[in-house]
């Protein structure tokens, strides 16, 4: 009957095993091959006449699959309005009801699993194995997991409500998975949304809208508008949107941060990466090889957290390289729908060009390029797995994100050097480390600047574990409890008085003034026994020392009766620079301290402040004109606050997430590093300590700009800090004009984050200037905050902003 079987018996080759596209074709035909937007629970052709359409292609053949509608400003507006209309009903819904919808979406994904998987692979080019076994099951898992959060929201997130209407923009590398990462938590927390899928890969999002209809999701809760970057920009700019969640390149993330600055929109960004993959000499090298396959050849390397920098201990580098080359020969590339391949196609010609040209550049810069002997398919958009050696950190391909199946290999000598090399990047999305030593693994993992650290594994994801970046890889987390805060805000902000504008109620005529170059005013205070007074002009507090300001100019401080009560230095950009450098030194000493030790020092601060309470009361009265009773209350509240954060220091624990593997996933809140804080005038002592204490409690070093009007409350603290064993550089204080100092800090590329309390305009500028290193920002949006009460003035909200969560995955089993 068949000669072929006898032949195969001899050659023992693999055949092709293509997945059928029949059902997908049926679905496309049912839509006439053309799709509009999904708005308010129904298809909408788009408001342009004639409709502006663009094509979406199958990357493995280049053929057109369907025509999609380019979303216009008007289309986006219509979708935002639909979401806004749906919001009151959706947010008012019982958490259990929302849980039922999310559960139904999870079930629905599973029931249509094959259709979603095949459509995803056709549209994106990823192997059917990955869409079938990884993407789609994770999508369902995300909806199930967040169904649970909807159910538990009231108990688990008391005092928090939805943000409102969320605009979500997702990339083309994991189209449906990124949709679920965005939509599931948003819906669980009671938000409504407008999602813009990537223009290359919108089809599964459109199929998903049919599922929303099937489960009876109320119209307008989920809206999908297709289109390119212009559509995304319209969504970002729309005033009816309360929050933007974006996953994509750091360049676009930067634009979005700039565009949303000052709008009060919440923002989470999951951006690019150049993640290190660290191999130590005691690793199981055969398993490492498979790890590299999963790290960089998964999804053709089009993975934001791809392990693209292979850092190998020098003693095992040669062996590993040989093993890798051998393994690359047995990778199979081809039709994404073939069930027997490892690698499919690159999503679009533009991406293929980027990969090719970067590898060319690498070659020109001296890299040795290794590709397997087999050739990639000629038809369609394919790029072979590529290993680059003879690469140094200074090589372009070792620095920029290639977003393709290209890994660069470098060596290190010691664990310490491995950390230095791993962190020598602007990104900080993920890292993978391979060793059989638990000591080494648990030593290295906290030292890596990355939101996710995989020990002896890589590219594992789960809805229960947060995912997101450090540094220029963005901010916010998706997954786990840590991800929910990004889709909620404190209820008090929506309650009566929650929008009271920023500003102190005391001391109308007080504050600092530029003395000008005219007559020098009388020195404040008076001498005794006929002697002239001793000048008590404070300096800046930098690196544990009182430092004269670089500019050598002062500001006069006017007290309650308009009298000059003192002077403070007018700090400038060089003082800020010095303070940041001092803070980095302080951070090195402070971060490794035990939480208990940090608590002890905060208690000691409270003790010493208490000792000098009267002095601070007088000062408050003197400079602000508040009543003695009020001043006493502020000092008392300040001491309590220090106690609160001393208490929190060793109690703001991480979590151990229940990820469905034999594994512990440790979610550890880590300090951000060096933080800048612009303190409010509203409570010159209490406000200052309410911001500095949580930062310090969590292990950050701080550059604080005290209340501009009443800086003497902060300068009086120098001696308190000095007598309380606060290590040098942990708290640095630069007095001066906020308008001069805040922009320098906001733009400083070696500051990890900045908190700003002040006017809305000043906060907007801070957000705008933060994009250089994509620092975390927390601004008051010109809103008043009640520093006296525990609801607004202290607690976990501050600790969350003072930290970033790192998820460390540790599979176990001998």
């Amino acid at each position: 009957m068949n000669q072929k079987i006898a032949e195969i018996f001899e050659t023992m080759e693999y055949g092709s095993a293509p997945e059928s596209t029949e059902r997908v074709v049926e679905w496309l035909e049912a839509h006439g091959g053309t799709f509009g937007h999904f708005i308010g629970g129904a298809w909408f052709e788009g408001s342009s006449e004639p409709p502006q359409l663009f094509e979406t292609h199958n990357p493995s053949t280049g053929e057109t699959i369907a025509k999609l509608t380019q979303g216009s400003d008007a289309d986006v507006g219509r979708a935002v309005q639909a979401a806004r209309d749906a919001l009151p009903g959706w947010r008012a819904l019982d958490g259990h009801a929302r849980a039922r919808y999310l559960y139904a979406l999870g079930r629905g994904i599973q029931k249509r699993g094959r259709l979603f998987a095949v459509l995803e692979s056709m549209d994106n080019g990823k192997p059917i194995r990955e869409s079938r076994d990884l993407d789609i099951p994770l999508v369902a898992r995300h909806f199930y997991h967040h169904a649970g959060w909807a159910q538990l929201m009231e108990e688990e997130l008391p005092g928090y409500g939805p943000v409102g209407v969320v605009g979500q923009i997702i990339p083309w590398n994991f189209p449906l998975l990124m949709l679920s990462w965005k939509i599931a938590p948003a819906l669980a927390m009671g938000n409504t949304l407008v999602l813009k899928p990537a223009e290359f890969t919108s089809l599964t999002a459109l199929l998903f809208t049919e599922l929303c209809q099937d489960v009876g999701l109320p119209p307008g809760v989920v809206n999908v508008v297709t289109g390119d970057g212009d559509t995304g920009a319209a969504l970002v700019a729309h005033p009816g949107v309360d929050k933007i969640a974006f996953t994509g390149s750091t360049d676009v993330g930067r634009i979005i941060r700039g565009a949303t600055a000052g709008t009060g929109k919440k923002l989470t960004l999951e951006l690019g990466g150049k993640s290190p993959f660290l191999v130590y000499d005691d690793a199981d090298l055969d398993s490492v090889v498979e790890g590299v396959v999963d790290a960089i050849w998964f999804n053709q390397g089009q993975v934001c957290c791809a392990g693209s920098r292979l850092l190998v201990q020098e003693s095992v580098a040669e062996v590993l390289e040989r093993k890798l080359r051998a393994r690359m020969e047995t990778l199979r590339m081809g039709d994404p729908l073939d069930k027997g391949i490892d690698m499919g196609a690159i999503v679009a010609p533009v991406q293929l060009d980027r990969i090719s040209s970067l590898v060319e550049q690498g070659k020109e810069e001296g890299a040795r390029i290794w590709q397997p002997s087999w050739s990639a398919p000629r038809e369609g958009w394919f790029y072979p797995p590529t290993l680059c050696t003879n690469v140094a950190p200074s090589s372009t391909i070792a620095q920029v994100e290639i977003f393709g199946p290209v890994v660069v290999m470098m060596t290190f000598r010691t664990p310490a050097e491995s950390v230095t090399l791993a962190n020598d990047t602007r990104y900080g999305l993920a890292a993978s480390l391979w060793t059989e030593s638990v000591n080494l693994a648990l030593d290295i993992a906290p030292k890596l600047k990355a939101g996710t650290v995989w020990v002896n594994c890589t590219n594992l994801f789960d809805a229960a574990a947060g995912f997101g970046g450090y540094r220029e890889s963005g901010y916010g987390r998706e997954g786990g409890k840590e991800g929910l805060w990004n889709y909620t805000k404190p209820l008090w902000q929506s309650e009566k008085g929650g929008d009271r504008p920023y500003g102190p109620k005391h001391g109308k005529d007080t504050g600092v003034v530029d003395p000008g170059v005219g007559a020098t005013p009388a020195a404040p205070g008076s001498g005794r026994d006929g002697m002239p007074p001793i000048d008590r002009t404070p300096k800046l507090y930098i690196g544990g020392k009182q430092a004269r300001p670089d500019g050598n100019y002062s500001l006069l401080v006017r007290g309650r009766d308009g009298d000059i009560v003192g002077e403070v230095p007018r700090g400038n950009r060089k003082d800020v620079r010095n303070a940041v450098e001092a803070a980095h030194k302080g951070s090195k000493a402070w971060t490794p301290r035990t939480a208990h030790n940090r608590a002890q020092i905060l208690y000691y601060l409270a003790e010493n402040l208490s000792l000098r309470a009267d002095e601070f009361v007088s000062r408050l009265v003197q400079v602000t004109g508040m009543k003695t009773k009020e001043a006493k209350a502020e000092v008392e509240a300040s001491i309590r606050r220090l106690f609160s954060y001393a208490a929190w220091a060793d109690k703001y624990d991480g979590r151990v997430h229940h990820t469905p593997f034999r594994n512990v996933t440790l979610a550890m809140p880590e300090p951000i590093g060096v933080m800048a804080v612009i303190c409010p005038d509203e409570a010159p002592l209490l406000g200052f300590l309410s911001l500095v204490a949580p930062l310090v409690a969590m292990g950050n070093a701080v550059v604080a700009i005290p209340s501009e009007r009443w800086p003497l409350l902060a300068t009086d603290l120098y001696q308190v800090f000095e007598t309380s064993d606060v290590p040098a550089g942990v708290v640095n204080i630069v007095t001066g004009l906020h308008s001069e100092l805040a922009p320098v800090l906001a733009a400083h590329d070696d500051v990890g984050g900045i908190w700003h309390w002040g006017s809305a305009e000043a906060g907007a500028e801070v957000e705008r200037l933060s994009t250089g290193n994509m620092k975390r920002t927390w601004v008051s949006d010109g809103r008043h905050r009640d520093w006296w009460g525990a609801t607004q003035g202290e607690g976990e909200e501050f600790l969350r902003e003072a930290t970033q969560v790192k998820n460390i995955w540790v599979p176990y089993g001998e």
Binding site: M1, N2, Q3, K4, I5, A6, E7, I8, F9, M12, E13, Y14, G15, A17, R129, D133, D282, A283, D284, L285, D286, S287, E290, G291, D294, T330, R332, D338, K339, G340, I341, D342, W434, E436, N456, C457, F661, R662, N663, P811, Y812, G813, E814
Partner: protein
């Protein structure tokens, strides 16, 4: 089963002569053994995706299943084995698949047989007799199988007796205690002693991986057995509570690869116990092809120890021919 006729003086012992392709073993390299690292979770992940990364369907599946038959050690190791039972098994070994099916598949001319017949020592003569002229070797389990705890002299004598009775392959069991107590020299000496006793007969060392505790032990025991001159390393006796699992197979395959890279000698792998379905058989072939290459898809380097696997493969082959799901009774008993 392909065997080379070229022979030369053995280097291992005075009286042994062996195929050039045989693994002569190496001195025991303890440093190498002690450096071994195996990460269980990572091994399990790789093993878990072997079958999802590759798909063998239709004609390929039929051809691969036929290949699996040629790599099968058709086995009976039961207390109630009798000469009659063994002769029946041998008849099946000669003609493992219905003639009409082979014709329909276009492979009748290949004269397929299984890789070997595997029995206890007492059945060796019967099996040799029953397989006369077929070229199918007889394998004997030996050395106090399955626990391997009888006196060394008896175990060695058992090997010699089976070889004398005509067994061409000897499946020995190692002393697990040597592995569990880090006595690599003792393990090495034991296996070398067995290898010497085998003479020309090929030596398969059963690690009883289900009793070794860790994959690292599996890897280390694999290395030591290969250094001591094993022709095959074999997972299990089939009598342990956990037998041939893919992670264990993957670990052993990697040990074989490393040993081959460092010494130039090829060693075979024999998973045994618990392999019952055609799907399992394909998974193991995928594992061998992926980790070791096509050379390990042939009976000189790969065997399944199995008793019920053949029946499932026959049903799948008939399904391939007719398009209808088959029944066990449509295929002759082993």
């Amino acid at each position: 089963m392909v065997r080379t006729d070229t022979q030369e003086s053995g280097t291992l012992t005075d009286h042994a002569t062996e195929d050039v392709s045989r693994n002569p073993g190496t001195p025991l390299e303890l440093d190498w053994v002690r450096r071994v690292r195996v990460n269980r979770s990572a091994v399990e992940r790789r093993a878990g995706t072997l079958g999802t990364r590759r798909s063998v369907k239709k004609d390929h599946q039929a051809a691969w299943l036929l290949k699996a038959i040629t790599c099968m050690d058709l086995t009976t190791l039961a207390g109630d084995d009798t000469p009659g039972r063994v002769r029946r098994l041998c008849a099946k070994a000669r003609q493992p698949v219905r003639r009409d099916l082979l014709e329909a598949l276009g492979v009748a001319h290949l004269d397929l047989t299984v890789g070997a017949v595997c029995v206890y020592h007492t059945m060796v003569e019967t099996a040799v007799d029953a397989l006369l002229g077929s070229g199918i070797p007889v394998a004997a389990v030996s050395t106090g199988f399955p626990a391997g705890l009888s006196p060394l002299q008896q175990r060695v004598a058992e090997i010699r007796a089976s070889v004398a009775a005509g067994a061409a392959e000897i499946d020995i069991v190692i002393t697990r205690a040597h592995v569990l107590t880090d006595q690599w020299e003792q393990l090495y000496e034991e296996v070398r002693t067995f290898r010497e006793a085998c003479g020309e007969a090929h030596l398969k060392t059963i690690l009883a991986t289900g009793e070794l505790g860790t994959l690292r032990n599996v890897y280390r025991a694999s290395l030591v057995c290969m250094m001591a001159g094993a022709d095959f390393i074999k997972t299990s006796t089939g009598k342990e509570s956990v037998n041939a699992t893919l992670p264990v197979g993957l670990t052993m395959a990697r040990a074989i690869r490393e040993y081959g890279e460092r010494t130039g000698h090829q060693v075979g792998l024999k998973p045994a116990g618990g392999i019952r379905t055609a799907k399992d058989a394909l998974l193991w072939l995928i594992l061998m092809k992926e980790e070791l290459g096509n050379a390990w898809l042939e009976p000189n380097l790969f065997r399944y120890g199995a008793s019920s696997l053949l029946g499932d493969i026959e049903r799948q082959l008939e399904h391939h021919v007719t398009g209808r799901y088959s029944a066990a009774y449509r295929h002759p008993l082993a």
